[in-house]
Amino acid sequence: MPAAATLKVLVVDDQTSVRQMTRMTLEQIGIRHIHEAENGKLAMDTASVQPLDLVISDFNMPEMDGLAFLRALRGHPAARKVPFILLTGRGDRELVVKAAQAGANNYLIKPFTPDILRQKIEQVMGKLS
């Protein structure tokens, strides 16, 4: 039963407003250690120096998109098991399927409430304390 306050989460999206929104919502469910990255490449840089418990990432980003990032993550020996939740807009069905095939653990539709966020995280990591 992971403690929300100890979890280290990485939020990846090229839009500042989305990152900030996600951050706010994560904090509302008790998560404190939140990293941000603007694209897959920067996310991978962060992921390689910071131990992470969860990644929440968009797909459409410049430099390295979420799919490539996910694959890089899954290819990295130590990051292989890090839970990856896809951030998606409405109507992106194909994307969600692709993500699942690439190894994503769950998906989140923007906008989301703290409850939905918690639910999705718990589906992947077990009940948050």
Binding site: K8, D45, G75, A78, G89, R90, V96, Y107, M125
Partner: protein
């Protein structure tokens, strides 16, 4: 903590950027010049707008953006060809999008059929090109959740058991014995051997401290080692290896990408190690929960493929932050700051400059022995303030591209409307200038380019007949020249039809029928108010917005405009603008009892001419003979209505200034009081626009002084019948501010 309102602001900022990106990218795509990247960038921009809009509940925006995005998606996956018609529709869609964004921002209600026409066009595009394949998905009824989607959340192990240590851990080890370690009978080799017993060890030795053979002291340790250890041993066991030498070396042991566990036993880092060659396995900087540095070290790319993606310099980011959780996004080099904050700082620096000037004045009144040392210190303060001012002003500086990038679209539209072929070349778009100038640049530039396409560039047939390429070129460039930014708009059109211009000017009584004007003078007639040679007012250049308005706009910001026309070959218009409106170099002058400030940029020369060089013509304040030319004089006292006109005497100072378009005139003042940097304060809010006064400032003595607008004053003077255009200099080139020669050393 960012509130929802702040988030909205951020979102709308992003929308502005997105709109620009779209506007830039679509024409490129139409011309076939866009790379795959371009269409992706445009797609992403619309996608971003849609996403953010969804978060904030701007439903109309979401719906429209969705259709827009779908078309772009089809284009980028190759299912849709990029024709000019489609791009035109997309450009319209961008306009609708922009409007919807503006309405969402202001909270306006959106009319139910707003943008319906465009939307229908987009949907039509999707249907037409479907080739039996469904291009657009169910655009309206996007499910709130993906019902029926076969996505089962994948549970990650390792979270149920609190102490899942199992498996190996990778550690990064930095071991640098201090010089004296050997003397304490501790042999690094044994330590390394012990370490190796724990698992697989990969080390590289550092030899940079190793001196030449002659200098080596066998009893000292010069080497260091860095590398990784992959081991199933506990951290304690590793520490134990170094137990006896802990005090005699620089030691760093840190975990590399810990498995997700609840345990957060991350080591505390010591000094970050300097750049050192790394082994093939991915390595990371040490991280501590208490004080994350987020500072990675520059390292060479390791050989193994997965590590390749990971290890490339993970960003040497900022200093440690107070809150334990926030490490800056690696590699971010810009930040968003509200304009208001920057402007406040600019104001503060302005006040500092003023206070400093006042300080200088006070110091001057002190006795010599005290003031000497004080002046030295003050000089330093002045120097630092100047640097501070420069730094702060550079924060407000923007690339002219902010204005330039609107031009390609303008050119496209106008070329289309006039059935002409025009190409726009842009150079120097990264040249930076203060925001205050950028804002004022748009209108004049737009109008000049409109003129160029409307009147300058000939229709394709005429061009070919004249032996020119069918496509006309307009070249827009910007560069810094001295203390100004010079923007040039050059076209290869027909140039000014000087006969027609002269004829029109005569017809309208703007010019004496007998007056003989050379070509330059004729061309400059277009700057006169009420001048337009268009037979019918074309809807492109609009009504009544003549070059005189353009010139006024430029002069209002203390700039100058000049043009050169080459009949049949083209025309060049040059705008010279100051780099900023906020602070400027000024010459303080006295006229009667009044003190004024003249912009240094308006001063070509100052001198105290002997009376013999002054020629009095009846009804005018006189002419100055200067190096073989006659310069008309203007009595500032009279112009500003200060005191009665007096004959120019030996004590007066004459300041030579440009009257525009190559002519000069001399301004007679009573005294030059000194040169200082002044902070320009606008008086428009309180007094409106006062002709001849560009603003006000507070002098070192604490008193308020008006800043003169020399260009306007010269216009006023000429309208009072001071002969202008009599004195010519060289080839009519305007000269930017030169150091005053006789008086008024800087």
């Amino acid at each position: 903590m960012a509130s929802l309102d702040q988030l909205k602001l951020t979102f709308f900022d992003e929308c502005s950027e997105a709109l620009q990106q779209i506007e830039l990218g679509l024409p490129e795509i139409a011309d076939g010049a866009g790379a795959e990247d371009t269409i992706n960038a445009v797609f992403r921009s619309v996608h971003s707008v849609k996403g953010g809009a969804g978060i904030f509940g701007f439903e109309d925006l979401v719906k429209f953006a969705h259709v827009f995005e779908t078309v772009l998606d089809a284009m980028r996956s190759g299912k849709l060809a990029t024709t000019h018609e489609i791009v035109d529709t997309l450009l319209q869609a961008n306009d609708v999008l922009s409007d919807l964004i503006a309405m969402s921002r202001s909270g306006e209600a959106v009319a139910p059929d707003f943008g319906a026409e465009c939307r229908a066009a987009l949907e039509q595009i999707l249907r037409k090109n479907s080739d039996g394949e469904e291009l657009g998905d169910d655009t309206d009824a996007a499910p709130a959740d993906f019902d029926g989607l076969d996505f089962i959340p994948v549970r990650v192990e390792g979270f149920e058991s609190p102490d899942s240590q199992g498996g190996e851990q990778e550690y990064r080890i930095v071991f640098r014995p201090k010089p004296d370690m050997l003397k304490k009978a501790n042999e690094p080799l044994y330590i390394l051997r012990e370490l190796r017993k724990l698992g697989s060890l990969d080390l590289i030795v550092e030899t940079d401290r190793l001196p030449g053979l002659a200098e080596i002291n066998a009893g000292e340790s010069y080497l260091g080692w860095t590398g990784t250890l992959r081991t199933a041993a506990t951290r304690q066991q590793i520490d134990d290896v170094f137990e006896f030498v802990a005090g005699d070396c620089d030691l760093e042991i840190s975990t590399v990408f810990a498995e997700p566990t609840a345990e957060t036993g991350l080591p505390v880092s010591s000094d970050p190690a300097p750049a050192a060659a790394e082994s093939a396995a991915a390595a990371a900087a040490s991280v501590s929960a208490a004080e994350p540095l987020g500072a990675a070290l520059p390292r060479e790319r390791p050989a193994s493929p997965p590590a390749d993606k990971v290890a490339g310099s993970a960003g040497e980011t900022a200093a440690p932050q107070g809150a334990p959780s926030k490490a800056p996004a690696a590699g971010a080099t810009t930040t968003r700051v509200e304009l208001e904050k920057i402007d406040r700082v600019v104001n503060m620096v302005g006040e500092l400059v003023i206070a400093q000037a006042m300080l200088g004045q006070v110091v001057h009144t002190l006795p010599e022995d005290v003031s000497g040392r004080l002046m030295q210190v003050l000089d330093e303060v002045v120097h630092h303030t100047r640097e501070l001012k420069d730094s702060v002003m550079s924060m407000r500086a923007q690339q002219v591209n902010a204005v330039f990038q609107r031009m390609p679209r303008l050119v496209r539209e106008l070329a289309g409307k006039t059935a002409k072929k025009v190409r726009l070349e842009i150079a120097g778009e990264t040249t930076e200038v203060d925001r205050s100038i950028i804002e004022r640049l748009g209108d004049p530039l737009t109008h000049i380019i409109r003129n160029s396409i409307d009147h300058g560039i000939e229709p394709p047939r005429d061009r070919t007949a004249a032996g020119k390429p069918e496509e006309g070129t307009i070249r827009l460039s910007a560069e810094h020249r001295g203390s100004r930014i010079v923007i040039e708009i050059r076209d290869d059109g027909a140039g000014i039809n000087s006969e027609r211009v002269l004829q029109k000017a005569r017809e309208r009584g703007l010019v004496n029928t007998e007056a003989v004007l050379n070509e330059d003078e004729i061309n400059n007639l277009i700057f006169l108010p009420g001048f337009s040679t268009a037979e019918k007012i074309s809807d492109i250049s609009g009504r009544g917005v003549g070059m005189d308005v353009v010139r006024r706009n430029i002069q209002d910001v203390g700039g100058r405009i000049s043009l050169k026309s080459d009949r049949g070959r083209g025309m060049t218009i040059q705008l010279a603008l100051p780099l900023t409106l906020a602070v400027m170099d000024g010459m303080v002058i006295r006229v009667g009892q009044e003190t004024y400030v003249m912009p240094m940029s308006a001063i070509v020369e100052c001198l105290r001419p002997p009376t013999s060089d002054i020629h009095n013509l009846i009804g005018t304040p006189g002419m100055l003979r200067l190096r073989g030319n006659l310069v008309p004089l203007v009595q500032l006292a009279e112009l500003l209505d200060i005191g009665p006109m007096q004959a120019v005497s030996d004590e007066r100072v004459v300041i030579i200034s440009d009257a525009g378009e190559g002519t000069r005139f001399g301004i007679v003042v009573d005294e030059l009081l000194g040169h200082q940097q002044v902070v320009v304060k606008s008086i428009e809010e309180s007094y409106g626009s006062v002709p001849g006064i560009a603003g006000a400032t507070i002098l070192g003595n604490g008193r308020v002084a008006f800043i003169l607008d020399i260009e306007k004053l010269s216009d006023i003077a000429s309208s009072q019948n001071v002969p202008v255009g009599v004195a010519r200099f060289g080839n009519g080139a305007t000269k930017s501010a030169a150091a005053p020669t006789a008086i008024g050393a800087m």
